[in-house]
């Protein structure tokens, strides 16, 4: 069976399940539509919150982002988990006790003012629309890449599916589809992560393999990665490049932002009791932590894989993903020293910020670009900023349908 057919079957089955759940749990009152009738078990709510959290931005892209950023990537790891402590300790139990349906509801009542409610609605719509715009784009890109349709068509498919379970089922439908999605996602993420970990370090637990020695060697993975990065002219993988004040502020903004995101807060309105709101935040963080402690390990593994699979390899023997993304235009290779080998290092490979492809092909079959090569470094590879995000599953050999 071809992998394309498998992808179709898998996507089809998951959508059928999601839509079936939405129809089964469709809302018949506003209480059910807004807050799932306040009857969601705290563990189920924890899973739903985790699935809600693992958006396109933080799911696959996470590992890709960190493998590019090295230690700086910790701003996302801490920033997107630490906020749950604030939620559990400072907000969730009290807002659940308040017992209304929306975040502006609380602000409007507590500050006894319609104006306050309207300002809160304004902020909420602003926040949610900026967030959702990114999400729909992500959904479109994934569909277009794996169902081989245009991005626009991908977005429309996504819209139809979301329409079914959000409009019919409301919060109730969304909660139970998210529980199903969480189970699929975490399984699909952990299994390949365990395999790469065994492959590279011989340790089946990625969180430990991350700090383990390489197979058949006494060198630690992270020491090797530091060495590789320095050799190529990057700064060491385990050191920061951003200033401490910037790292501090980004982490803080993401943490407090997490605690202020309306779609996360509302999840804690759906449990039966105040104590359940606290527990539920704890379970949510456990489920999120499975992914967020695995992601930096996958990031390190795929960074090693990435460098070792292209550095000084001949273009003809380069991996499939390299050529696939070159075809799409997110990777470019310019053989500056005419040796037919890919030389990857720090520095801009050519003048200008993006490659301008001509229709010609070079001696090795690579796509020729019109940009002038830079002379101050020997880097020959252009990698789009989004590439590690999008190509990471292929580099790390993770299955592609994870994003759905």
């Amino acid at each position: 069976m071809s992998s394309q057919l498998l992808t179709y079957i898998f996507v089809g089955l998951s959508f059928a399940t999601y839509i079936a759940i939405a129809i089964w749990s469709r809302a018949s009152s506003t209480n059910e539509f807004y807050v799932a009738g306040k009857g969601v078990n705290p563990i189920a709510n924890g899973m739903a919150t985790a699935a809600d959290w693992m958006s396109a931005a933080s799911f696959i892209s996470m590992a890709g982002l960190i493998s590019f950023l090295g230690k700086d990537g910790a701003v996302y790891l801490m920033g997107w988990t630490g906020g749950y402590v604030l939620l559990a300790l400072l907000l969730a139990p009290y807002l659940r006790k308040f017992g209304q349906y929306t975040v502006p509801d609380f602000i409007g009542t507590r500050y006894y003012s319609k104006t306050a409610r309207l300002v809160a609605v304004l902020c909420l719509i602003f926040i949610s629309f900026t967030y959702v715009a990114g999400q729909m784009r992500g959904v479109g890109i994934v569909f277009s890449r794996f169902l081989e349709v245009e991005i626009q068509v991908g977005v429309i498919i996504g819209m139809i599916v979301v329409f079914f379970y959000a409009v019919l089922g409301g919060m109730k439908g969304i909660t139970y589809t998210q529980v199903a999605q969480y189970c699929v996602m975490i399984f699909a993420y952990l299994v390949p992560a365990i395999f790469i970990s065994i492959l590279i370090t011989g340790n089946p637990i990625p969180q430990l393999g991350f700090g383990d020695t390489l197979v058949n060697s006494s060198t630690y993975l992270l020491d090797k990665l530091d060495q590789l990065s320095i050799d190529l002219g990057f700064s060491a993988y385990t050191e920061n490049t951003k200033s401490n004040i910037d790292i501090f502020c980004i982490t803080a903004a993401l943490m407090f932002g997490t605690a202020g995101l309306p779609h996360v807060i509302v999840r804690f309105f759906t449990v039966p009791r105040v104590s359940d709101a606290r527990k539920s935040a704890g379970y949510a963080l456990v489920f999120i932590a499975f992914l967020y402690t695995t992601a930096p390990a996958v990031a390190a593994f795929s960074r090693v894989n990435f460098i070792e699979s292209i550095q000084e390899k001949s273009y003809l023997d380069s991996p499939d993903w390299f050529k696939n993304w070159e075809n799409i235009g997110l990777i470019a290779w310019q053989d500056k020293n005419d040796d037919g080998l890919i030389n990857y290092s720090a520095g801009k490979p050519f003048e200008g910020s993006r490659p301008i492809f001509s229709d010609e092909f070079g001696s090795q079959g690579q796509r020729e670009i019109k940009n002038l090569p830079t002379l101050d470094n020997s880097n020959e590879v252009y990698i789009d900023r989004d590439i590690m995000v999008l190509a990471n599953p292929e580099i790390a050999k993770l299955p592609a349908w994870l994003w759905l």
């Binding site: 230690k71 801490m78 749950y84 402590v85 300790l89 700090g211 630690y220 385990t238 943490m255 963080l285």
Partner: protein
């Protein structure tokens, strides 16, 4: 125990837990991270481990400590919750 004592005890608990929250993330993971990097934990530099692994484990533990502590506090004050109020 009055409801005012309950709130005071809660605030005290919150300040302790949030202090730990700050230290393991902003402290060990960012401000003192470079200093901690001279120690190692297996193949990890300690500061790096806190930034990319340890702080997250700490967050999970903190929430459950709070859940358990509040459970006992609520027992002491004799609160029984009702569903779906």
């Amino acid at each position: 125990m009055s409801s005012q004592d309950y709130w005071k005890a809660n605030l005290k608990l919150l300040s302790v837990l949030l202090f730990v929250w700050f230290i393991i993330s902003f402290g060990f993971g960012i401000i003192f991270s470079e200093f901690l990097d001279q120690f190692s934990l297996g193949g990890f530099k300690l500061g790096f481990w806190f930034a990319q692994q340890g702080s997250i484990y700490g967050f999970v533990i903190l929430i459950f400590v709070y859940v358990i502590a509040m459970h006992f506090l609520e027992k002491k004050i004799g609160i029984k919750e009702e569903e779906n109020e």
